[in-house]
């Protein structure tokens, strides 16, 4: 495969950035859900 270093660099950048956004979104959503269920009176009904 020619230009392998460039290909690895391009795919690496994409995986790191997209992975960071995905993990951040899921962690933030889970944290908000836990916090809300702890303080929202409607969640205990």
């Amino acid at each position: 495969m020619t230009h392998l270093t460039y290909i690895i660099a391009a795919y690496g950048v994409a995986v790191v950035v997209a992975g960071w956004f995905s993990v951040d979104a899921w962690v933030r959503m889970g944290r908000a859900r836990r916090r809300l269920s702890a303080i929202d009176p409607r969640s205990h009904r």
């Binding site: 495969m1 020619t2 230009h3 392998l4 460039y6 290909i7 660099a9 391009a10 795919y11 950048v13 994409a14 950035v17 997209a18 956004f21 995905s22 979104a25 899921w26 933030r28 959503m29 944290r31 908000a32 859900r33 916090r35 809300l36 303080i39 929202d40």
Partner: protein
Amino acid sequence: MDTSTTLAPSSGSGRSLHRFANPGRFLRLSGKVLPFLATLGLGLTLIGLVWGLFFAPADWQQGDAVRIIYIHVPTAWLASSGYLGLAICSVFSLVWRHPLADLAAAEIGPVGAGATAICLATGSIWGKPMWGAWWVWDARLTSVLVLFFLYLGHIALVRAFDNPERGARAGAILALVGVVNLPIIKFSVDWWNTLHQPATITLTGSPTMYVGMLWPLLFSALGMSLGFVAIVVARTRAGVMERRIRGLLLARAQQEAGARSGVAA
């Protein structure tokens, strides 16, 4: 604060829009859709990228460096369409005061900036072996860089005010002004003599691309688009819940302050 109760839509279309403005309804609906969006997006992206990396043919001129397009082209499409989504949310926010539009716009900004950053970085990595330079001040590259700065400006402006509504209003105006950059990006390769190649896939004509390369590109583009939407929906869900948490904590603090002042009197 349940903002849905403060809204009084006047027209039929406004009423139907505000049916989906209820945060509780959005949380229920998005909770059901999100796992499918995320799974389908990840699956299609993986199929497209593995197909493009290992099974699609190399280009007779570019060699294997052409495999970078399976990331670069979808993220370029997402950078522009994400900004269009941001502008549509801004219209909903300014005209109809749609309470979820503000939140969605604030969450699209960082994800769109991320897609634009990937597009610029992968284009630069492709440009070095093909053009002999990491960067050229070509009309297409420069207009996409301007798009990246517009995203950054929107992110900064939305978070610059103590009052979130004022931040959302200022961000919406910036987003609408920045829309003028989208046709410049699209037609830059036709209007100016650019080093960047013209469009190989258009809505009106047949693609000037070998079908063995086209299919993995379409798979990765569809997968990444679904992934983009899934991330935005997940962030918006988190934003809705965080807003509700702030409202509850504020109400509790006001209640406690009222009780204290009552005891003191």
